[in-house]
């Protein structure tokens, strides 16, 4: 296998969450990179919460338009069949359950499906933007993040310590080590996939949350 960095692995695996015909909203930062890896032959329509459905790639140099930006304030383009709308319409779309998938980063996530990604008390908070609405409204909420902090502490917890972005909202957690689903019946995580070269034991060491191993556990496909 061609060697990939853990970040590339994370992006490539997360891109597998895209399904033909999906309307998708990608969070700012690393989730945006997922749009570079749409599986061939698939039609994916990207929504940007500042009022675009059918967002395209970055413009060619010299063709940037200040009136056309994404939620990360980056210049973008639109694809044929796109539409523009107000922020109220945009969040009606989001809250109303019309977005098939949202992919967001996280500071912490826990086995009850709680997500924390907007605030560290005592430090300046930048604001939640549209994250609370996205996790409350999208049909599927996928968290993509590094499994542990820079200090080696698990980000997959029994209970989030930071203020929640959403309570019981996460469906799937994808990290450079594993894919885990939230089981809302048992209140535990289910380990579905492990990264190439990673053992269940490695994942246990990096995970504070309780998890069970899925009967059909398999290696991540990227």
């Amino acid at each position: 296998m061609k060697s990939v960095s853990s970040k590339e692995l994370l992006v490539l695996r997360t891109a597998k969450e895209l399904k033909d015909g999906f309307y998708v909203n990608l969070g700012i930062g690393m989730p945006t990179l997922v749009s570079n890896h749409i599986p061939p032959g698939m039609d994916i329509i990207f929504q940007s919460e500042n009022g675009i459905l059918g967002m395209g790639p970055f413009p060619y140099q010299g063709e940037e338009d200040a009136d056309l930006i994404n939620a990360g304030k980056q210049t973008v383009t639109i694809l044929p069949g796109a539409s523009y709308f107000s922020s109220a319409d945009s969040f009606a779309m989001i809250r109303g359950g019309h977005i098939d998938l949202t992919i967001l980063g996280a500071m912490e996530v826990d086995q009850e499906g709680n997500l924390a990604n907007w605030m560290i008390p005592g430090k300046l908070v930048k604001g939640m933007g549209g994250a609370m609405d996205l996790v409350a409204g999208a049909k599927k909420v996928v968290v993509m993040m590094q499994h542990v902090t820079k200090d080696g502490k698990s980000k997959v917890l029994k209970k989030c310590t930071l203020p929640f972005t959403g309570k019981k909202v996460v469906h799937r957690i994808i990290t450079e080590l594993a894919v885990m689903d939230v089981d809302y019946n048992s209140g535990k995580l289910v380990l579905k996939e492990y990264a190439p070269g990673v053992t269940v034991e490695d994942i246990k060491k990096a995970t504070e949350a309780e998890f069970v191993v899925a009967p059909d556990l398999k290696e991540m496909e990227i």
Binding site: Y84, F91, R95, F164
Partner: protein, 237 residues
């Protein structure tokens, strides 16, 4: 007497509207996209103090609402995200600037409700978070919601691409964002446009903001339309 909404510039609009120290103001725009540039500059030059500003963001240090932060004209911001502004950070940390964070969808819906005569709405956004603290919650058909109340203002400043002399507005691309709702949610709405035309020159099918919401309108000057994140791809890709 014919309806007279057209004014010469932002300064005249602001003076006619009767903006005062301590006013509550809505300001359209997402980041620096679709912000009422002329009105912000005129508010700075007229020097009103202790403003409460309801706007998604707070501009950057040297443009947009950042200009009114530099001059310490803003007492309180109601926003969803303020990450791009060091002046903001400094004033917030030294306690001279108040801040209320609102989730973006709740923010836009509260403004919409403010203009639409809706006294409040139950939303799933923020349930179980600090946003819901102290607010009424209710289980409806088995799902929990939090009650959010409308946002209104004394003045709204919006920016559109085209407008006619009756106040009908058409926005351009993602510069629409919060402008249409804000135009409805203030006692006095001031619209600045890049192109002001005679009534009849806008397609009624394409009007985003009907003129009833707009009290004063003018054609703005010297739009800079700054780009925060200039991202491109090479031509040969």
């Amino acid at each position: 007497m014919p309806i007279q909404k057209v004014v010469r510039d932002a300064r005249e609009a602001i003076l006619k509207a009767g903006v005062k120290d301590g006013a509550t103001i809505m300001m359209g725009g997402f980041g620096l996209c679709g912000i009422p540039e002329n009105s912000i500059l005129a508010l700075r030059d007229l020097g009103y103090k202790n403003l409460t500003v309801i706007s998604n963001n707070a501009g950057v240090d040297d443009w947009g609402l950042g200009l009114l932060l530099q001059t310490r004209q803003i007492k309180k911001m109601v926003s969803t995200y303020v990450g791009e502004n060091a002046t903001f950070e400094k004033q917030f940390l030294d306690g001279t600037l108040e801040l209320e964070f609102v989730p973006q969808g709740t923010f836009s819906e509260r403004v919409r409700a403010g203009g639409a005569g809706i006294a409040g709405f139950f939303t799933p956004t923020g349930v179980g978070t600090i946003i819901a603290e102290g607010k009424e919650t209710r289980i409806i058909d088995g799902k929990e919601y939090v009650l959010e109340k409308p946002l209104k203002a004394e003045f709204a400043f919006v920016k559109a691409y085209q407008g006619d002399k009756l106040g009908n507005l058409i926005y351009r691309m993602s510069a629409r964002n919060f402008n249409p709702m804000m135009a409805t949610a203030a006692k006095v709405t001031i619209a600045e446009v890049e192109r002001l035309v005679e009534p009849g020159n806008l397609d009624p099918e394409c009007v985003h903001t009907p003129g009833i919401y707009v009290k004063y309108i003018f054609e703005g000057k010297n739009y800079e339309k700054r780009i925060e994140q200039r991202t491109t791809r090479p031509k040969n890709s």
